[in-house]
């Protein structure tokens, strides 16, 4: 591996680019939180984005992989960069018409039995990357691992696959009915 990014370096990258925000946020999954990561803000600096992808590629040198997939939007560029460093194909999955699942455009290739890595910028509950995994599995692929730049999931690994995040962070997610930020009257921002 040509480089290593410590947790401090990754957090500094997010902080320096304004990608880590503090306040009171409503997460897509419904919980409230005081810290939020906007990875698109980091991804707008191609050199930083490439460092992250290169490090993820470096975590999987011991595993044979045919393609990398990421869920739109956060995982698309990360999958492309990671795949570039691995020398394999890059796919993405996006929300289907129902909005509850994801699909892979028919133009992108998944051959039966191909082994894939799923990547995502920030994993909180893992729902979005799981939908991408399901879409790739439905197309015949076999998931051999998951990576995230930042894992902010509390407790158990959210995936039934080998999971290698670049860094893990304990960020509390509050139940809307029992949120100390709500109790303090901090205005809630929807993200």
């Amino acid at each position: 591996m040509s480089q290593d990014l410590s947790r401090d370096k990754i957090l500094k990258m997010y902080e320096d680019t304004g990608a880590m925000r503090t306040g009171h946020f409503l997460l897509a999954a419904g919980g409230h939180t005081d810290r939020f990561f906007q990875s698109a803000t980091v991804m707008q600096f191609p050199d930083s984005a490439r460092q992250l992808g290169e490090c993820i590629a470096g975590l999987w040198g011991d595993v044979s992989i045919d393609f990398v997939i990421g869920p739109a939007m956060g995982g698309v560029i990360l999958a492309a960069i990671t795949a570039q460093f691995m020398g394999v194909r890059a796919l993405f999955a996006e929300k289907d018409a129902s909005g509850s699942g994801m699909f892979i455009r028919p133009g992108m290739t998944v051959r039966d039995g191909e082994r894939f890595l799923a990547v995502e910028d920030v994993v909180t509950t893992g729902t979005s990357v799981m939908k991408a995994i399901r879409a790739a599995e439905a197309a015949g692929g076999v998931c051999v691992g998951v990576s995230a730049v930042i894992d902010r999931n509390e407790g158990e690994t959210p995936f039934p696959y080998p999971y290698r995040p670049l860094t893990s962070l304990r960020v509390l997610t509050y139940d809307p009915d029992d949120c100390p930020l709500c109790q303090r009257g901090v205005p809630l921002e929807k993200i």
Binding site: T41, M43, M73, I81, A90, A97, G107, M108, I191
Partner: protein, 194 residues
């Protein structure tokens, strides 16, 4: 056709990104060829090569930022941005926020994989303007407008390849006349932004 255009046409053809057939486009028009660049962009090395070919024609572009308005344009936009000192934005948070403002004096190059009617480019330009950036021009890998050219709505447009689309009404469609069945054009595609 120049060397660049013919190499791009080969890249698109070999990966199945440029297909000939019988397709139904929006508004019920029939078309005889279809371009979906994600077929090409799934191969990072080829995506990089395609971006290089487009980058070579970007002469005189005065931009500080690349904006990719559609998911399928992300790899191309990113690859162009990394060949420059420009920043890169995608149609995702925080840029989607109505409150988002580009840094002062930002000049945006809107990068898309394909232009057909120009609706997506027009929308992207308005979107950038509303967030305080000036659009310096447009770069597309494949220009499918009937007349092509180096201009779009008063601004410069750079393209890698001009492959005009010919549209037919079902009554006039030569493929219908020959009894060729219609292939669906990825009905799952969500609408592009706007």
């Amino acid at each position: 056709m120049g060397v660049r255009e013919s190499e791009l046409r080969d890249l698109l053809g070999e990966t199945g990104a440029y297909r000939e057939g019988h397709f139904e486009a929006a508004q019920g028009q029939h078309i005889l060829s279809y371009v979906h660049c994600e077929r090409l962009f799934q191969y990072p090395a080829l995506a990089s090569r395609a971006a290089n070919l487009l980058f070579e024609v970007l002469e005189g572009v005065d931009a500080t930022f690349v904006f990719a308005p559609s998911i399928s344009a992300l790899p191309l936009g990113f690859e162009l941005a990394r060949r420059t000192t420009w920043q890169f934005a995608v149609h995702a948070l925080p840029f989607t926020l109505a409150t988002y403002r580009f840094p002062p004096k930002t000049r945006v190059l809107v990068v898309d994989d394909v232009v057909v009617s120009g609706r997506s480019l027009r929308h992207a330009r308005e979107w950038c303007r509303q967030r305080g950036a000036e659009v310096a021009g447009f770069a597309v890998l494949v220009d499918r407008r009937p007349q092509g050219g180096s201009e779009f709505e008063g601004l410069r447009l750079w393209s890698g390849l001009h492959a005009p689309v010919r549209t037919f009404t079902p009554e006039d469609c030569p493929a219908c006349r020959d009894g060729i069945p219609i292939e669906p054009v990825d009905p799952n595609y969500p609408e592009r932004m706007g």
